[in-house]
């Protein structure tokens, strides 16, 4: 995937915008932003973002490929939909944020140490390798041990009471740890997912340098 990132992008040209339009969900909306800033002002996370949505859109138009795709900003989006509700130009901002995050992840550019992309990866692996169903026990444990064994045990101990409660109220089955159950045609699903990735990657490859 690394060669994809060698794409030469000229500033203030349409290259990156076109790339976003082709590969990012709802990406064709980016050019319609009129930079009013209502989204940034409405976003509850706005103050914590490196680049609030309006700025991200301008950066895309300015051809700042690396900065946008490597940014942690989109990963902060909580899907509250405040921005969509308020954008005078009716941009589906939330969707674009997730689209960008997703695209960055696929290109391997998403920030490594941020919790949201990590979680997304665990979730995906759990689903993809677990036969098409999310195994909550495994997903939970993998999150506990995300930061090493010691941290994991500490967290597990801290959460013990909740775990017990879930067990007794039949919300969690400890035997799921030995595989759990999958969907009917898990191999078929995997094949479908692989094919989808192939198509997406072919599209993205057009923007190689």
């Amino acid at each position: 995937m690394s060669q994809l990132n060698a794409t030469k992008v000229e500033k203030y040209r349409n290259h990156f915008l076109r790339e976003v339009e082709a590969n990012v969900e709802e990406g064709h909306w980016v050019k319609m932003c009129m930079q009013c800033g209502v989204c940034s002002g409405s976003c509850p996370l706005g103050p914590y973002w490196e680049h609030p949505p309006q700025e991200i859109f301008m950066m895309i138009r300015a051809g700042k490929r690396e900065e946008v795709l490597k940014s942690s900003s989109m990963w902060f989006c909580t899907s509250c939909y405040n921005c969509i509700a308020r954008c005078p130009r009716e941009l589906p901002i939330t969707h674009i944020m997730h689209g960008l995050a997703h695209y960055a992840k696929r290109l391997g550019l998403a920030p490594q140490n941020q919790a949201t992309p990590k979680f997304a990866q665990y979730f995906w692996d759990n689903l993809y390798n677990g036969g098409g169903r999310v195994n909550e026990l495994k997903l939970g444990l993998s999150l506990y041990f995300m930061n090493g064994l010691v941290e994991g045990i500490k967290t597990a101990l801290k959460m013990r009471k909740i775990g017990q409660g879930m067990y007794f109220s039949k919300r969690m089955n400890p035997f799921e740890i030995f595989g759990g159950h999958s969907c009917k045609d898990s191999q078929g699903l995997k094949a479908a997912l692989n094919k989808a990735r192939e198509i997406e990657e072919a599209k993205a490859a057009q923007f190689k340098g």
Binding site: N14, M34, Q35, E55, A62
Partner: protein, 751 residues
């Protein structure tokens, strides 16, 4: 009119009868007002009441009426009697609606009403019936100066309305700047694509119209006369001159593009690849839908930058301080030329504020974005030509960083400079100062000021062109009275009065055409134009008394007064707007109107009953402009706001018509305070007579001397600028004056 037959009618409707002792009012009207009869009616404005008055008029028992009822602004349809003089005493809006219905207030409220009766009776005796002079004739022919888009459209509108139009165009061809455009900004839904400029069709229509006469290569070398009888000399380049008569004139002299060579930082002139918007139109016309080529080497442009507000909206010397109003739309249109020929061309617009005026402006912007034009907020600091491209430095204000970027072509959105002709205020001022010095020595600087060529060459004492307001645009009110200028019967349309695009210019042309037609029709009947449309009265002047001080000729906002061979003022009825500023100016008071004069107001002022110094009943005179202040006072009544019972309000045509004699007479006869209310003055004026309020404020700034002479406090006279919306403020100002008097005490001039 022969004998004045006086009669008064008092209405008891709308609560007047309950609140006021109308029998007592009738007494005042007969005994003091000297009315030969007084009639009371329960509902004067209903058909029965109106019929009663009409019967008296028809029977010849009355021809000068006082109608004591509601405001003169109310029930104008009902109390609309032909060929009689009417004075209206405002008992409703002016008294019962602004006074509390309490027993304590009763006495002063009744006194207020009695005074209004006295004032009405005094006024009506001095009103004469105006009749049109014989100056008038009907000339159904409008001169249109300028054969650009605005002028052509105006001429066509005039012709369509069944009148004649003559276009005088300085150049050899019609169409002006619009004809140089490849395409124009859309004027109809969906406002997504630029459209044909339509000039060829417009010219064909004009040329094919029998009601339109064309003079190319021609200028107006002299304009004299007045609406309804303008006499204009039209001179060809060759020198041959014809003279023609017109009823009214439209000045559509358009604009010049700003001289971009002053913008050194943008490498104008250094690289042929830096062009202004008109320069790009020329390139686009050459390409005619194909790829636009850059001038330097003919290479097809792959990247283009539009710099908004180049030399505009800036206070740097030589720059235009205003926004030209069309350039953002124009840049979107021009960026589309590129995107439409090839979507892969990079077209970028750098703006500080993007402005998309007009109904479809935002749609057009969206369409531009949709085509992939890049917009960014920023300030371009420099364009550096280098081999094969242009390096542009700009600050991206959204991403907050300095950028350096290569482009094939740079387009500067420079502004519009109006073709207003000579700035008469500058020119008139200059020679006066130079008078003491030898004429020859000072000829040079005056000459340079005259560098602008006159458009109209008016044979008016006040100068050859229409007065300007700011930035060299002809003075024509932006919002309230568009097209009107300070020269009656001459209307400004298009970018000569404010910057605009073709869509707006088309509206302007239609508006000015209607105004011009209205003006010539009114002139033919001897009636005033805006804002006293239909008024037949005009200034009468008693030559024997005139001291030739020239104040009237100078102060008339409309240049209506010339000078005769003996240097006496020469009034031009049709040029006059009936503001009365001349009447207010005249120190010997020899100017008056039939129905509005130093006497009609002065006698009303004197008619007020003046309680003595120890009565604790002060009297405040309020002279209120009939255009804004008086309606605001009426509305204060409609909204039942209370104000002092000591005020006596008289409407005036314009604050400019207030002669200082009224003020000094009022002070001498014991008024304790005087308030003047006019419209907003200055560059953002709302004064319906443009300069009236300003002149009045100036005159009143001198009134302090009079007050000091009389040993009166200066707080006793106040002048305010009032907007029609100041409904809460006007009662406050009245009450303030009442409080001031309570503090400083009564005037000692009571008799």
């Amino acid at each position: 009119m022969a004998e004045k037959k006086l009669g008064a009618y008092i209405c008891k409707g709308c609560g007047i009868g309950e609140r006021l002792n109308t029998d007592q009012l009738a007494n005042v009207a007969t005994r003091e007002g000297k009315m030969s009869f007084v009639k009371q009616h329960d509902f004067l404005c209903n058909s029965d009441g109106v019929a009663m008055i009409q019967a008296d008029i028809d029977a010849g028992t009355v021809n000068h009426l006082v109608i004591a009822a509601c405001s003169r602004r109310a029930k104008t349809d009902a109390f609309n009697f032909a060929d009689v003089a009417i004075s209206r005493a405002n008992l409703r809006e002016g008294i019962i609606w602004v006074r509390p219905a309490t027993a304590e207030a009763q006495e002063t409220t009744q006194e207020m009403a009695e005074d209004y009766i006295r004032m009405g009776c005094a006024e009506v005796k001095f009103i004469n019936l105006p009749a049109a002079s014989n100056e008038q004739s009907l000339v159904r022919h409008v001169l249109v100066v300028g054969g650009g888009f605005t002028g052509l459209t105006a001429a066509l509108e005039i012709a369509k309305a069944g009148y004649q139009a003559t276009i005088v165009e300085k150049s050899a061809s019609l169409g002006g700047v619009a004809a140089q455009l490849h395409k124009r900004i859309p004027n109809c839904s969906p406002f997504a694509e630029s459209q044909s400029n339509g000039i060829a069709e417009l010219i064909a229509q004009v040329q094919g119209n029998n009601n339109i006469t064309l003079h190319l290569n021609s200028t107006v070398t002299q304009t004299s006369g007045a609406p309804g009888r303008f006499e204009v000399k039209i001179t060809q380049e060759s020198g041959s001159t014809i003279t023609a008569n017109f009823g009214s004139i439209i000045q559509a002299s358009g604009f010049k593009p700003y001289d971009a060579t002053q913008l050194l930082e943008f490498a104008v002139g250094k690289s042929p690849d830096v062009v202004d918007q008109l320069g790009l139109e020329a390139l686009a016309r050459q390409a005619n839908g194909g790829k636009i080529k850059r001038p330097s080497d003919g290479k097809a442009v792959q990247s283009v930058l539009f710099v908004q507000c180049a030399g505009q909206r800036s206070n740097k010397p030589g720059h235009l301080p205003y926004c030209s109003g069309h350039c953002c739309l124009t840049s979107v249109k021009q960026a589309m030329y590129f995107k439409d020929s090839d979507p892969n061309i990079d077209a970028m617009v750098v703006y500080t504020e993007l402005r998309m005026p007009g109904a479809g402006g935002e749609d057009f912007y969206r369409s531009g974005q949709n085509k992939g034009i890049t917009f960014t907020k920023g300030v371009v600091s420099e364009v550096i030509p280098n081999s094969g491209s242009l390096t542009v430095k700009f600050n991206d204000l959204i991403l907050n960083e300095a950028v350096k970027q290569e482009f094939d072509l740079v387009v500067l959105a420079t502004g519009m400079v109006p073709n207003s002709g000579v700035n008469i205020e500058e020119v008139v001022a200059a020679p006066e100062e130079d008078k003491t010095e030898a004429k020859t020595a000072t000829a040079a600087p005056v000459e340079t000021k005259l560098a602008a060529e006159s458009i109209l060459n008016l044979d008016y004492r006040q100068g050859p062109d229409i007065p300007q307001l700011v930035h060299g645009f002809t003075d024509s009110h932006f919002i309230c009275f568009p097209y009107e200028t300070r020269r009656t019967g001459i209307y400004a349309a298009g970018p000569v009065r404010r910057p605009m695009d073709m869509n707006q210019a088309a509206e302007d042309a239609a508006g000015a055409a209607l105004k011009a037609i209205q003006a010539l029709e009114n002139a033919a009947l001897g009636r005033a134009a805006h804002p006293r449309v239909g008024d037949l009265s005009f200034p009468q002047f008693r030559k024997e008394g005139c001291t030739q001080c020239k104040r009237c000729t100078v102060e008339c906002p409309f240049g209506a007064i010339n000078e005769d061979e003996k240097r006496y003022p020469l009034f031009n009825e049709a040029r006059c707007r009936r503001c009365g500023t001349c009447m207010g100016a005249c120190p010997v008071r020899v100017i008056s109107f039939e129905n509005y004069s130093v006497d009609t107001v002065g006698q009303a002022i004197k008619a007020v009953d003046m309680p003595d110094e120890f009565s604790e009943k002060p009297r405040i005179l309020l002279l209120a402009c009939e255009n804004d202040a008086y309606p605001a006072l009426d509305m204060a009544g409609m909204t039942r706001q209370e104000y002092s019972a000591f005020v006596r309000i008289i409407p005036v045509r314009c604050l400019g018509s207030v002669n200082t004699i009224w003020i000094s007479d009022a002070l001498n006869s014991g008024y304790d305070g005087i308030i003047l209310m006019g419209c907003q003055k200055g560059d953002n004026y709302q004064c319906h007579f443009v300069k009236g309020s300003e002149i009045a404020h100036y005159r009143m700034s001198k009134i302090d001397d009079t007050l000091k002479q009389l040993k009166l406090e200066t707080e006793r006279v106040k002048t305010y600028e009032i907007a029609i919306t100041d409904i809460q403020r006007v009662p406050q100002l009245i009450n303030e004056m009442a409080n001031t008097i309570a503090k400083i005490g009564m005037s000692p001039f009571k008799f």
